[in-house]
Symmetry: C2
Subunit: 160 residues, 2 copies
């Protein structure tokens, strides 16, 4: 499995849609999550910052939840983009998704100081709605299991 | 309903346990969520920072998830503390909880620039496990509904 992502879906969003605190490349204070393909699954890598603690030595659960959230919308966008015949990096503007629901089961305390790896599997519910199952690993340890239902961004978000 | 919290459960945690990025008062970079009683329900107030955007004008879902998460553990701690005969501010050390699972349904886009209000109802599953139902309001608008299962912090978290 690759450990660096070349082409992430978030790199392709137009600037107007690149301000997400989790995954927007224009948001200077944000996490800058980047999500790409790894064979038929999706992957997001992130090393939590020093301050992202629950207790000293363990990662804050809300940060894991944020990772699952943006990994979910990014994975759904990758999936639909591929279905439409595109891959990140080919110059086509990808679809954008919003989160309808987020669920995280915290299986083990997530150790701090290690890069986290979110691995996702996308399931189509219908053409505008996808369910993304995600496993979050710290090294070889499965620490959390998440599920996001992501929907194509409705026009109401765009002020239309 | 009160708009300022006098006594929050997070004010009572010993310093060793006050480093949570969401609700630890010792974490200088964190959100500093504070959770107290409002009659028989629990309340956390938080105004998202400028950078906590999904798109410009709307709050980042991961931040709403973090609010639901810490509000959940704080609410469970308030509930068990009261069951043990204590209220925050009386000098007794409260129990601490960790999140077993987090669920958030995003009902409406959460407008940015307004203080958010998380209102919780605690249900006992068994003496060490509680389910907290939370509604997140921006002004009068119900934007998200969340559920946390919180368990008394196991000794494994404490390195014992």
């Amino acid at each position: 499995m690759e450990d660096k992502l070349m082409n992430a879906i978030q790199d392709e969003y137009p600037e107007d849609f690149a301000w997400c605190y989790g995954c927007g490349r224009m948001n200077e204070h944000g996490h800058h999550f980047r999500t790409g393909w790894s064979d038929e699954q999706t992957i997001t890598l992130y090393k939590p910052k020093k301050e992202h603690t629950a207790l000293p030595g363990f990662v804050y659960g809300g940060l894991v939840g944020s990772l699952v959230d943006c990994h979910g919308t990014g994975s759904a966008a990758l999936y639909l983009h591929r279905k439409n015949g595109h891959e990140p990096g080919d110059g086509a503007e990808p679809p954008r998704f919003v989160t309808a629901s987020l669920h995280v089961d915290f299986l083990k305390p997530t150790p701090h100081g290690i890069e986290l790896k979110a691995i996702g599997t996308v399931h189509e519910i219908h053409p505008k709605k996808y369910r993304v199952e995600t496993e979050v690993y710290a090294g070889e340890t499965l620490c959390a299991r998440g599920e996001v239902v992501a929907v194509v961004m409705p026009d109401t978000f765009l002020g239309k």
